[in-house]
C-alpha cells in the first residue's frame, strides 16, 4: 500500500537526519581539540610550546645584529592567594641566544596548594618563534603552606623571527587548581 511505503521512507529520512544531528553535536566537541591543534601548529592566539623543546639546533647562531626586548607580566588569577612575580621585569636577548630567567612564587595561605601558570604571548606572530626548553608552566606547581619557590624558565628566540618584532610580552596567569587535582579530576591539558 502506498501509505506503508510512505511511512518507511519517512522513517528512513528521520533516521538519516538524526544521524546528522548527532554528528554535529560531536562536531562541536571536535572543535575543542581542533582549535588547540590549529592554534599550536600556526602559533596563533599567543600559544607558545607546551612541552619542552629538546632538539635545539646545534648550528644555531646568535644574531648579534639585533636584540629583542622580552618583557614579563605576571598575574595571580582572582581568588588565587599567591604572590607571583618575575625576578627580572624584562631582558634583552639576541635571536638565537639561550637565556634563563626566574620567577618567584609564595603561598600566602596556611594550606598546601597547587597552582598552574598559563602563558600568553604578544605579538601573536612571534609566538611560534619563542621556544622554551624549560618552563614551570609545563608542570603543576605544588606549594606547601607559606612555602616559597623560585621557578626557572629557559628560552631562546628562533633566529628566523621577523625583523619587525622588537618587543615581546610574555604574560603568565597563575591559577588555583588545588581542588581539581585533589579530586583526581582534570589534570591541566597544558601539561600533556
Amino acid at each position: 500500500m502506498a501509505d506503508e511505503q510512505l511511512t518507511r521512507r519517512t522513517r528512513l529520512s528521520v533516521a538519516k537526519l538524526l544521524v546528522v544531528c548527532v554528528c554535529m553535536f560531536g562536531f562541536a566537541y571536535a572543535l575543542v581539540p581542533l582549535y588547540d591543534v590549529i592554534c599550536e601548529a600556526l602559533g596563533i592566539n599567543g600559544r607558545t610550546n607546551s612541552v619542552a623543546i629538546v632538539d635545539v639546533p646545534e648550528d644555531m647562531v646568535k644574531d648579534e645584529d639585533r636584540t629583542v626586548l622580552v618583557q614579563f607580566v605576571t598575574r595571580a588569577a582572582k581568588d588565587m592567594p599567591w604572590d607571583f612575580e618575575p625576578m627580572e621585569r624584562s631582558v634583552r636577548v639576541h635571536p638565537g641566544e639561550i637565556k634563563a630567567v626566574n620567577f618567584r612564587v609564595r603561598n600566602r595561605t596556611g594550606e598546601d596548594m597547587v597552582g598552574q601558570a598559563i602563558p600568553s604571548l604578544v605579538p601573536g606572530q612571534a609566538a611560534s618563534h619563542f621556544k622554551k626548553t624549560q618552563c614551570f608552566c609545563f608542570d603543576q606547581q605544588p606549594l606547601m603552606a607559606n612555602g616559597e619557590e623560585v621557578m626557572p624558565m629557559i628560552f631562546y628566540l628562533d633566529p628566523a623571527i621577523p625583523r619587525s618584532v622588537n618587543t615581546i610580552t610574555l604574560s603568565y596567569t597563575l591559577y588555583d587548581i588545588t581542588e581539581r587535582t585533589s579530586v583526581g579530576g582534570v589534570a591541566a591539558r597544558q601539561t600533556r
Binding site: L17, M24, A28, L31, V32, R180, V186
Partner: protein, 528 residues
C-alpha cells in the same frame, strides 16, 4: 483511507493540547511567537526607558544587563524562529499539496516544549524583578560569552542552559519535520523546481537548523560541565580558552542569522509576484542564491570576532567570504526589483510590507557590508552601529516579512479580510517609528556609543531621546496588529474572503476554500 473516525476532532482545550493538525499547530506557533514578541518588546521598553536620558533613572545596571540579554534571547528564539515555524506548518502542506506534515505527533511535541522552555527563562526574569535578594536573571548578553556565563554566571545560568536545550530540541524536531515533509509528501507533479520559493527557503533553513542547533547544544553543555562538573573547556586555568567559546558560539550564531532571514526571503518572493501580477523573475537563480547564502554562512563566523585577534590571513579570509555573501543577496534584491519592473502593481497591505522589507532590509544589508571590512569593524565593533545593523535586518527585515505574511495569508486562515483601516494604521505607524527608532542608532554608534551599557556620555543625549520615542511608538503600534488579528480570527468580522483572495495569486494554497478547512488535500492535487 476514507474512514470517518478522524473527522470528529477533539474540542475545547484538548483540541489544542493534543493537536496533530498542521493548521492548529501552525496557529499555536504563530500566537505563541506573537506573545513572545510582545514580552520581548516589553523588555526593550525597559531598555529604552533607561536610555531615554543620560544617567541612571529607571533600573540598576545589573537589571539593565538582564533586560538586554533576555530581550535578545526571547526575540531570537521565542519570536522570530517560532513565527517562521508556524508559517511553515500552516503553509508548506498547503503549498506542496500534502494532507499534513509528515510527523504530526512530533509536531505537537515540538510546539509544546516551547512554552516550557520560555517559562523557565521568563521565570528567572520574574524572580529577579519581583523577588528582592534573588539572584539575577541571565545578564551576560544573548551571546553568553564565557567566562561571563561560566565563571561569573549567576545561578540562573543553569535555568538558561536547560531552556536553550529545550528550544534547540524543539527547533531540531521542527526542522526534521519540514525536511521529511518536503522530501516525501509533495503532490504528484510537484517537482523540486516547481516548489514555491517559500518551501525552498524553508527546506534550506531546515538543513541549517539541523547543522547548527546541535552545535549550540554542544556549547551550552560545555558551559554546564565547566560550571559544575570540573571540565575546563573555556577556563584557562585548566588549559581551556574563552576564545574557543566564541568560535563555537559563532559557528552556530552566523548560520542562525540566516535561519531567521531565509524564510523571510521566501515570503517576499511569494508576495511581490502576486501584486506585480508577473511570475517571479529568475526563479532558479533565487533557489541557487538561497543555497549559496546557506553554504557561505558556515565560513564567515569569525567576522564577529575581528577585534578578538586572529592572524592576518584569517582576517582576510573571513572578510572576503563575508563580502561574497552580498553577491547572492544582491541577486535576490535585483530579482525582486525585476519582478516588479513593468508589472501591474497594486499596493495592498502585504505588498506594502514586502516593499518596506526590500528597502529596509537592503539598508541593513549595506551596513552589514560596512561591518565586514576588518579595519572599519575595529571602530564599529560593539557600538550602536552594530545594534542598528542587526535591528534593520531582523526587525524591518524578518519581522516585517512576518507582518507581510500575516496580512497576505490571514484571509486564507480566518476566512475574512483583515480590517483595512487599522491595518494601514499599523503599517504606517510601524514604518515611521521603526526608522525613528533604529536609524539614529547608526549615528550614535559611529560617534562611539557602545552597546550594552545602562548609561552614556552626554553628547549622545538628544539622539537617544528620539530613539526612545521611536521605540515606545513602535511598541504601541503593535497593538493595532493585535486588534486586527482579534477581529479577523475571533470576532470573524470583515469582508468574506474568496478562495483566491488575491487577484494575481498563484499556488495550491489558493485552490482550497477560505477559511482553509480542517483537512485539505486528502486526495493529492495534480500539478501540471
Amino acid at each position: 483511507m476514507a474512514d470517518h473516525h478522524e473527522h470528529h476532532a477533539p474540542t475545547g482545550w484538548r483540541r489544542w493540547l493534543l493537536s496533530t493538525n498542521h493548521k492548529d499547530i501552525g496557529s499555536l506557533y504563530l500566537w505563541f511567537s506573537f506573545a513572545m514578541f510582545l514580552v520581548g518588546g516589553l523588555l526593550a521598553m525597559v531598555i529604552r526607558a533607561e536610555l531615554m536620558y543620560p544617567g541612571m533613572q529607571v533600573v540598576d545596571p545589573d537589571f539593565f544587563n538582564q533586560m538586554t540579554t533576555t530581550h535578545g534571547l526571547i526575540m531570537v528564539f521565542g519570536a522570530v524562529m517560532p513565527a517562521f515555524v508556524g508559517l511553515a506548518n500552516w503553509m508548506i502542506p498547503l503549498m506542496i499539496g500534502a494532507p499534513d506534515m509528515a510527523l504530526p505527533r512530533m509536531n505537537n511535541w515540538s510546539f509544546w516544549i516551547l512554552p516550557a522552555a520560555f517559562s523557565i527563562l521568563i521565570g528567572s526574569v520574574l524572580m529577579s524583578a519581583f523577588g528582592p535578594g534573588n539572584p539575577p536573571a541571565p545578564n551576560f548578553g544573548w551571546t553568553f560569552y564565557a567566562p561571563l556565563s561560566t565563571t561569573y554566571g549567576p545561578a540562573s545560568t543553569d535555568f538558561f542552559i536547560l531552556s536553550v536545550h529545550l528550544m534547540g530540541i524543539s527547533s531540531i524536531m521542527g526542522a526534521i519535520n519540514v525536511i521529511v515533509t518536503v522530501m516525501n509528501m509533495r503532490a504528484p507533479g510537484m517537482t523540486m523546481m516547481k516548489m514555491p520559493l517559500f518551501v525552498w527557503t524553508w527546506l534550506i533553513t531546515a538543513f541549517l537548523l539541523i547543522a547548527v542547533m546541535p552545535v549550540l547544544a554542544g556549547a551550552v553543555t560545555m558551559m554546564l560541565t565547566d560550571r559544575h562538573f570540573g571540565t575546563s573547556f573555556f577556563d584557562a586555568a585548566g588549559g581551556g580558552d574563552p576564545v574557543l567559546f566564541q568560535h563555537i558560539f559563532w559557528f552556530f550564531g552566523h548560520p542562525e542569522v540566516y535561519i531567521m532571514i531565509l524564510p523571510a526571503f521566501g515570503v517576499v518572493s511569494a508576495i511581490i509576484p502576486t501584486f506585480a501580477r508577473k511570475p517571479l523573475f529568475g526563479y532558479a537563480s533565487m533557489v541557487y542564491a538561497t543555497a549559496s547564502i546557506a553554504l557561505l554562512s558556515f565560513v564567515v563566523w569569525a567576522h564577529h570576532m575581528f577585534t578578538v585577534g586572529m592572524p592576518l590571513a584569517g582576517m582576510l579570509f573571513f572578510m572576503y567570504m563575508t563580502m561574497l555573501i552580498s553577491v547572492p543577496t544582491g541577486v535576490k534584491v535585483f530579482n525582486w526589483v525585476a519582478t516588479m519592473w513593468r508589472g501591474s502593481l497594486t499596493f495592498e497591505l502585504p505588498m506594502k510590507w514586502a516593499l518596506a522589507f526590500v528597502i529596509l532590509f537592503t539598508i541593513g544589508g549595506l551596513s552589514g557590508l560596512m561591518l565586514s571590512i576588518t579595519p572599519a569593524d575595529f571602530q564599529y565593533h560593539d557600538s550602536y552601529f552594530v545594534v542598528a545593523h542587526f535591528h534593520y535586518v531582523l526587525v524591518s527585515g524578518a519581522i516585517f516579512s512576518m507582518f507581510a505574511a500575516v496580512y497576505y495569508w490571514l484571509p486564507k486562515w480566518s476566512g475574512v479580510m483583515y480590517d483595512k483601516f487599522w491595518g494601514e494604521v499599523h503599517f504606517w505607524s510601524s514604518l515611521i517609528s521603526v526608522n525613528l527608532l533604529f536609524f539614529p542608532m547608526h549615528f550614535v554608534g559611529l560617534a562611539g556609543m557602545p552597546r550594552r551599557y545602562a548609561d552614556y556620555a552626554l553628547q549622545f543625549a538628544d539622539y537617544n531621546w528620539w530613539i526612545s520615542i521611536g521605540a515606545f511608538w513602535f511598541g504601541i503600534s503593535q497593538l493595532f496588529l493585535l486588534w486586527v488579528l482579534i477581529k479577523a480570527c475571533f470576532l470573524k468580522k470583515g469582508e468574506k474572503a474568496t478562495d483566491e483572495v488575491w487577484e494575481g495569486a498563484e499556488g495550491l494554497e489558493w485552490t482550497v476554500p477560505s477559511p482553509a478547512p480542517f483537512h485539505t488535500f486528502d486526495t493529492p492535487p495534480v500539478v501540471k
